[in-house]
Symmetry: C2
Subunit: 188 residues, 2 copies
């Protein structure tokens, strides 16, 4: 019968089933498989996002606009940061702008955009990158409690700051001792 | 006695008090005085703020930043509006930017600032004025449901739009038929 033949054909696959496995042994196999999966997932997550990684500031475009500036061709910063940039702050960072001390959870974003000029009017073009500062005194004790990151263009994953760069970010920001390492001030 | 002399000297002022006034008459005098005060106050308030006056958009600096542009010396708009300007929208106006139809209560503010340039970097200077659009289809049926106003510098009371100007505002904005008379679009 066709049914029997199929059953016979399937038998070799179940050959091992003939070897009896104790309940304890089965539990050990399942445990080891789960453990291996967990370790692999954890390692991959570490590789993709280290513990001190600054998260992408989702929704920052709806945060408070702090101020703006335009970097033109005559500035030495033009090559890397030329164009218009806007500073945005979340609610906790706004407390920092008011008091001069930014609480943990403060996030500040500098949004760098290319510009276009037509008939004397300069308008906003594509995004070059965003610079992000996150205040977390436990995570970033070596850099004034601030974590630094840059995301390229519109990407939420293409990170531009290496461990070395993060120190450079802070070396410059640290000059602002009286304003908790923040350069910008809220324009009223 | 000195006291008596003072009293005598004061007497003529109270001469009229000798004429008896009925209770009904007194009430009539008080009523007329109150009515006159109310009419005067109401007239002054009308003169200072007509019924269709666009209110100052208190707190707009904390609203969502829509976009920015810079008007340079080569633009014909430079004399009146030269510098950087930012567009802000309240929550209802943000619904309009998403749907293309701005509900009543939408408020959009264009914040015009002077600029300063130093070593190729253009920064924000004093406020020139703010332009305000308020959607209220019952109040402003003749201008697409929008009320228009400008406030000079940082003033919350120095209004720059006359009835004639408001029509001019709308004549230009009306070109944006497909976007409910709004020129700007939200930059993501």
């Amino acid at each position: 019968m066709q049914f029997e033949r199929k059953r016979e054909g399937a038998m070799p696959i179940h050959e091992n089933a003939r070897t009896p496995i104790s309940s304890a042994g089965l539990r050990r196999v399942i445990f080891l498989a789960l453990a291996a999966t967990c370790i692999t997932t954890w390692s991959l997550s570490l590789w993709a996002k280290p513990n001190d990684a600054v998260p992408y500031p989702t929704g920052y475009r709806l945060w408070t606009h702090v101020k703006a500036a335009l970097i033109g061709p005559q500035s030495p910063a033009f090559e890397n940061s030329g164009g218009i940039h806007h500073i945005y702050a979340n609610e906790k960072a706004m407390e920092g702008y008011r008091t001069g001390k930014f609480p943990d959870g403060s996030v500040i974003v500098a949004d760098f955009l290319e510009t276009r000029e037509n008939a004397g009017v300069t308008t906003e073009g594509p995004r070059r990158r965003i610079d992000v500062m996150v205040k977390d005194s436990k995570r970033y004790p070596a850099t004034g409690g601030w974590g630094f990151e840059q995301f390229k263009g519109d990407s939420q994953t293409d990170r531009m700051v290496t461990a070395e760069n993060a120190t450079k970010c802070f070396d410059c920001h640290a000059k602002q001792k009286d304003h908790d390492s923040v350069f910008s001030e809220f324009r009223k």
